[in-house]
Subunit: 124 residues, 6 copies
C-alpha cells in the first residue's frame, strides 16, 4: 500500500540513482524492511530539509565506514554519492579523514570498498 | 621542537577556534599525544586540500558520534563546527541522519551532547 | 500533527509504562526525533505482530547492552521490561548470557545499570 | 578430560541440534577454546535456569547480530534457534527490531545471514 | 561452593593485587557473575601458561581500551598491571600505540582513564 | 618525497618482515594513506622507545582482533609478530585471553584468521 512517505523515499532514491541489490534481496525474507527503507530511511530522514544531499551522503559514508562491517551498504552509498556529484577525491578525502577518529584499519578497509566501486564504474 | 606540520596543525586548530581542554589534559601524562594531534590529526590530515573544513567537520562529527563513547571529543568538534559556520540545525540534522545507520540510542546520545554544547554557548 | 503511527507508538509506550526523560530531553533540540521514536521505533516496529512484548524487550535490552555506551536508554528499557512482567532475575540472566557474546566488561556494566534501575524502583 | 560442566555443555548443544563447524575448526589451533565453549558458554551459562532456551537464543541472536562481524556464529545460533522451535518469522522480527537500536545496515546484514540459513535448510 | 578453578582465580587476582570494587558490586545483583570472574576469567584463562602476566595485561588493557566504554574495568587492569611491574610509561606507550588502530578519541580517553589511576595511586 | 619519518617507518616495517599487500593496494586510490602508514603508524608510533616490538605487536593484535572486522590487517600483524619471534602459541594465548573481554565470537574469528596465517606459512 504505497503512501506519501513511501513515494517520497522512492523518489529520493531515484534522484540519487540508487541501484543497489539490497532492497530486492530483502523482498522475500523481510519485505517490510524494504518498506521501512523507503518510508523511514529515505522518505522521513534523508528527504528532510536543513542539510543538502551531498552533506548527507558524507555523513552517511562516514557512519557506515565507521561501523566497519557493512561493505554492501557502503558501496551503495559511495555509488549514490558519486551519482549526485561528490567526486572520487572528496570521498577518498572523507575516508582518509576517518583515520584519525576510527583508526587506520577501518579507514583503509573503507577505502578498499570505495576502490571496488570506482573499478566497477570504470568497467561499466 | 616545533616543525612545519606542528605549526600547520596549530594554525588549523586556531582557525577553527579550538578551545577544548583535551590537549592540555594530555600534556602531563602523554605529551607526545598532544604533539601527534597537532602534527598528524590537524597538520597532516585535517589541513589536506580536496575537502572543505565544513565537510570535514560533518565527517568527523558523524564518526565520533558513531563511536558512541567519546562525548568530550564530540563536544570539541561540535564547538569547532559551529565556530567555522555550520549551523546548529545542520549539526542536528547530521546527527538525526545517523539514526538510520547507527540506531536511535547512539544518535540520541550525540544529540544530547550537542545540546550541552549549545547550552554552554548560550550561557557564555 | 498526530497520525495513526504516532498514536500507535504513544499507546504502545503507555502500555509499557514508559517514563524515561529521553523524549522530553529531545523536545527542544530535536523535536522530530521524539516524533520518530513514537512513529517509527514504537508505532511501526515495536507494535508489529509476530513477536510478543517480552521477547522484544529481551532483544532490545541485549542490543543496547551490547552497544555498551547507552545506559540511559538501557535503563528506560529495563524499566519497561519490568513493567510488562519480565522479572529482575530474567533480565539479569539475559545480561549474564551476554558475557559469552560481548565479553565480561560490557555485560558487567549492563548489570550495574540494571542494578541502578532496581534500586531506584525499590526507593520509590 | 571430560567433566560435569563439559558434559552439561555437550548435552545442551545436542539438545539444540548444534552442528556448526566452529568447534571442529578450533580443534587443531586452539583446542582449549572448544573446551571453554562446552564448559563455560554452554555448560555454565546457557544451561542456567531462570531463562528458557528460546529466550536465551533471542538474546544471543540479538547480541551477535549487534556485533555485526560474526556471521558464522550468527548462522550457528539461527540454526539452533530454529531447531528448538523459534519460527523464521520470530527470528526475522527480532532482527527487524534491532534496526531501531543498531541501525539499518547491521540489522539488514543479519537478515541476509538468517536468509542464508533458511535457504540452506530448504535445500537439505 | 569453592572449587579448584575458583581458588586458582582468587589466587591469581591476589597475586596481581586486585582491589577493584567490581566484584563486590556484583555480589548482590548477580553473585554468579563474581563466581565466573574468579573461575573462568582468572581461574581458567588468565592462569593459563604460554603467556606471562605482563603480556596478558597488555593484551587486556588494549582490548578494554578498544571497547571504549568500560573505564571501571580499564582502571582495574591498569592498577593490576602496575602492581605486577608494568611501568606507567609502558602502559601509556601501549595506549598511544592504539591510536593507529582504534583512532585518537578512544586512545585519548583510555589515557585519561590511566591518568586517573596514576593520580589515585599518587594520592594514596 | 621521502623524509626521516618515512624512512624510519620503512625500516621498521622491513625489520618486521612486512609483506602485506595493504600498502600497494592503497597506492592507486589513496597513495597518501600509504605515506601515513610509513610516516605516522610506523615512523612515529611503532618506532617509539618505551615498549619493545613484541609487546607492541601483542597490543596491536589485541586491538585489531577486538575491532572484529579487519582480518586483512590482523593477518598482516600476525605475520609480523611471528617474524619478530612471537610464537604461534603466544599469539593464540593472546587471542584466547580476548574471549573474556570481547566475547567468544570475536575471539574465535581472530583465532580463525591466525590459523589462516599459520597455514599459509606452512604451505610456503
Amino acid at each position: 500500500m504505497p503512501n506519501e512517505r513511501f513515494e517520497r523515499g522512492m523518489a529520493r532514491l531515484a534522484e540519487m540513482g540508487h541501484n543497489s541489490p539490497i532492497v530486492s534481496m530483502l523482498d522475500e525474507t523481510a519485505p517490510d524492511m524494504a518498506k521501512y527503507i523507503y518510508e523511514f530511511a529515505f522518505g522521513d530522514i534523508h528527504s528532510r530539509p536543513g542539510l543538502d544531499k551531498k552533506s548527507r551522503e558524507l555523513v552517511i559514508i562516514s557512519a557506515i565506514a565507521s561501523l566497519g562491517h557493512a561493505p554492501l551498504e557502503l558501496k551503495s552509498h559511495v555509488n549514490m554519492a558519486l551519482n549526485i556529484g561528490l567526486t572520487r577525491q572528496e570521498i577518498i578525502e572523507a575516508l582518509m579523514q576517518l583515520t584519525v577518529y576510527v583508526g587506520f584499519p577501518t579507514a583503509i578497509n573503507a577505502i578498499f570498498t570505495a576502490k571496488e566501486v570506482f573499478e566497477e564504474r570504470d568497467r561499466s
